[in-house]
Symmetry: C3
Amino acid sequence: MSTPPRAGRAHRLFPAEPRVREVAADLYGEVADASIISPHGHVDPRILADDIPFADPTELFITHDHYVTRLLHSAGVSLEDLGLDPAHTVDPRQPWRTLAAHWHRFAGTASGYWLTDELESLFGVTEELSPENADAVYDRISSALRTDGFRPRALFRRFRIEVLATTDDPLDDLSVHARLAADPSFTGRVVPTFRPDAYLDPEASGFADRIERLLDATGRSATFDGYLGALEDRRGFFVDHGAVSADHGVLKPFTVDLDAAAADRLFAGALAGGLSDAEARLFRGHMLFQMARMSTQDGLVMTLHPGVRRNHHRPTSEVFGPDTGHDIPVRTEYTENLRPLLEAFGAVPGFHLVLFTVDETVFSREIAPLAGFYPSVYIGAPWWFLDAPDAMRRWRSAITETAGFYRSSGFIDDTRAFLSIPARHDASRRVDAGVLARLVEEGRVSAPTARRIMRDLVDAIPREVFKL
Amino acid sequence: MSTPPRAGRAHRLFPAEPRVREVAADLYGEVADASIISPHGHVDPRILADDIPFADPTELFITHDHYVTRLLHSAGVSLEDLGLDPAHTVDPRQPWRTLAAHWHRFAGTASGYWLTDELESLFGVTEELSPENADAVYDRISSALRTDGFRPRALFRRFRIEVLATTDDPLDDLSVHARLAADPSFTGRVVPTFRPDAYLDPEASGFADRIERLLDATGRSATFDGYLGALEDRRGFFVDHGAVSADHGVLKPFTVDLDAAAADRLFAGALAGGLSDAEARLFRGHMLFQMARMSTQDGLVMTLHPGVRRNHHRPTSEVFGPDTGHDIPVRTEYTENLRPLLEAFGAVPGFHLVLFTVDETVFSREIAPLAGFYPSVYIGAPWWFLDAPDAMRRWRSAITETAGFYRSSGFIDDTRAFLSIPARHDASRRVDAGVLARLVEEGRVSAPTARRIMRDLVDAIPREVFKL
Amino acid sequence: MSTPPRAGRAHRLFPAEPRVREVAADLYGEVADASIISPHGHVDPRILADDIPFADPTELFITHDHYVTRLLHSAGVSLEDLGLDPAHTVDPRQPWRTLAAHWHRFAGTASGYWLTDELESLFGVTEELSPENADAVYDRISSALRTDGFRPRALFRRFRIEVLATTDDPLDDLSVHARLAADPSFTGRVVPTFRPDAYLDPEASGFADRIERLLDATGRSATFDGYLGALEDRRGFFVDHGAVSADHGVLKPFTVDLDAAAADRLFAGALAGGLSDAEARLFRGHMLFQMARMSTQDGLVMTLHPGVRRNHHRPTSEVFGPDTGHDIPVRTEYTENLRPLLEAFGAVPGFHLVLFTVDETVFSREIAPLAGFYPSVYIGAPWWFLDAPDAMRRWRSAITETAGFYRSSGFIDDTRAFLSIPARHDASRRVDAGVLARLVEEGRVSAPTARRIMRDLVDAIPREVFKL
């Protein structure tokens, strides 16, 4: 046995047992430099279209990352002091110093891991952040950000991003995407994603006005058929602009196939604002069903991100708006809820339905069994609170024995934090290498097959699942 | 430290850490050759009664194994092409080639592990299945199947099966079991299992006709008391033919003790087909309660396999029938549902209730605490989707700290695939050896006690739980 | 690499991998001798006030420990034979011999681990308990118990207990606590905990009488406001006697903020005994809300221990009373249930709410996300069935990536078994050392930060969470 690799940066996230680590390092080597396919995320395409330098370390790492602000908030720091209240400006050094003072609170968290990786990989910061070095690190990052190498497009190339999906409103004119596509000096592929939640939920605030705008924009009549046609029109517009998927962030993945009369009646009630809770649920369930139906026709991959109670702390959302760190998961059920949809479309060739969750209990119980039968169903990569090394291992353990590696979706970074994209994909690759290495060492997967799987996980699989 | 054993066939499924692996290998040695007790499964007893050679590799490994066909189906292969539609014959070589072409999809799955083990242990196939070797492997297996050593009874002896339980309809005449028992040239023990689901659920299709046949067969009257008597008669008939358990595959393990008048009224309504959903639930709950009551009287071990939505994709079941790979688990609750049953019978001496689940969340929360108090309750081994190495480890981890090793049921293979029986029991033994080895190395169980537990898990415990 | 430490007593509960074990041992060394802070438990303060020797090994280790009696009961031993029926005396040697005869059943359980640790650490018993040595071990313990070194106060000092919280009825006069506080020869800190469950649940038996006693004791009127005032009075009395927390053992953590008229009406109905199930639920939910409101005013830390169906087997509780081993967990929901409470008080400075659970599924899904945003919310340490090495690891794995180490509560022993306190805290420290060591070896936490966290987990964190 050669001297085993010691713990350290090169072997981070690999299991500690020396032989497993050795195999993991070998497998990771297959994909360490593979390009990044990012088929679902929340980066603003303007940063690439305009290629404007990032402002400062605080804006880059803190203000827009609700993973970071929520943990500082839990430590008693107000969101206002972190610069989240547009009405109050703060010196950007202050939030950075606050982060440094609370840095021990991030130990063991996914955010702590990513930030550490980004600070070292991108800015050469190898010390742990602390009150003592906070200003020096801030200055080092600030200097780097003023160089051309740290402008968004340069980083896009350096990160080897091949495809980047954004998330967009159905009425977005996609002019930014069009501008990027037409720009000969930008060779990356940035595609929009159709995200119609607010157009499908009669209880969403401003629903009737929004539908009126939708019908106006498409020249459709205010009937249920007109409404469906308008949605189909906008999906078609997204397809024309390169979209490959439509994303659905419902509270519960309930689906139902209503008859035409019932749908008409509920649509009229939804516009009039007079639906009961039960009727609103039926309407949403029918629209999720209709979205699947449309996917079988226009080919958009349907991704489902259910089970999050948004804006749990109303006083915070009233001041600071949505996505401020207090969206909290709830228990989610797929087997019964998705049955109508899957009975109708689960075996339709070409239909792809990717099931994400922040309720781990469904991985072995519901999602893996569904994906292990329905050719349309793929197991979404660990999402949000579960996008972290231990959670990824639990996920692989929970799904693989039932559904193998080829029914999983490939990694999804789902991030607003552009700079964290490579750290996130790299973490996923390292964890998968460790998982596969364990299976190799336990005699459950052969080394050549493990190498093939490793490569497919970052390339063939996301291309197949997202039709890229 | 001596040279640690390298990963390989002999050490498969043992943890990678060398000392844990060494202890695991030692513990496994205690039971590697122990005979197999299989107290719950779905093998057709005719194959042993008639001792007819298996037809071909496809029938043996694919057609009747819905774990295999479902994963091929999820890859886009039609069940018709796999030979599941009796109206369309397929060349048996084709499904085998299809399996070989999709073999990478089985990497990391339980089925992939078992098939690999069977191919090597039984047929000496050490290469991974591939399109290149598919025909050669097919031919090798076919040749073997034509030899006497691969006829069912020879394999039964070679597998060291001591007891094999089948699963049978309450009106089965058990003549096949009687024939086997009377055959002096067959010395194994093959026992029937009473499985009355379709006789207890008023919403099962054909319920009234089935009950009429039951009453006719037993000469009982069409009253609730007559119905109970008829079930008791048939249980007695099973006991006379060697049955040790009655198995119950309900959707929810709801139980209730109704008074006589309510039971009479619901029974009449069930026969007339006029029960509401709520009434049907009450009837089923009362009948599960009655099954426990009967077990306290006739001694049949009560096994409960709840929580599976059968035939999730109706279009598939309409063409290909049940057990075609799309039974999907649902969340299951035991604490409140079983309370009436356990208050009445949970402490009755001699009553045994084995709780299985495909909802892992109940292991630490409900089943282990129940089995850690009620002398009647045993923790069923990981079942179906959970009968796999990682899931077994999670199971032991979830139950042992609350209930120890002696409240678990011993391994249950639950299989239709006769050839997979030794691979499945062996996998369970290897995983348990690894679990115990870890506890030994962490100073939590002494080595002598670990050896005793290891032996008891495959012998004393299943004999006690299933009264063998 | 130096010779790795072999498995053994000194390294118990550390992971087996030699380098991880080495780091774990190092981290454990930071806190091995740290004093014990026990902010939640069920020790009877009289044993310290009166400092009376423990009677015998059976009373000490069996009779009052329902973790032990339940597992013996599951093996078919009657609670009467274990001495739990006051009407039947048993020779204390008999339960001890019974425990010895069933000792293998405790292998791998938390109780088995603690007892083994206590027998060795306190009484020098290094053999496994067995029928052969049962009497000799009994005699050795009995002799020790008659020495001064084994009287409660001597053990309190030897255990290095700095703070010990008891659990008390709101109408307790706390005279025992006052006596201890006033005793110059006892320098420990023993604080009461306000536990008002039976005063908040209109369905608790004897509710109206109990409220009458409460109102009498405080001189308050029989109105809802009088009732709130009476509870505030008693909380104040507890605060005056050193209490730092109020504990709530509800079935479901439902909360609601009712208007004054509704609360008045429900209170009147509760006293009259005429509330429907739905009304009783509203009343309980409003009272949990009121308890939080009071905590924001009087500063008592609010701890929540929900989700246990008490006295599952009524026949046993009728004979042997509560806490006899058949309290069984149920599924629990926090996100929606706690929303009214957290919207009102979740961001109130100084309010502390510690969420415990015996439903593991909520750790990653609900509790960690809540604690990762709300400054008031802390993640309770693994409780009851989950207070065991593997469960603790699962807990750290489930919460840390979302919320870090600093949103967890510090260890809580929650025990009636005074002698088990050091074994339990030591187990927690060992497990945390192993968890941190793995993170260090995987390059996820630096060694200096791991050492800081290790120390904070047993000192700074419980002091902060429980305001000590």
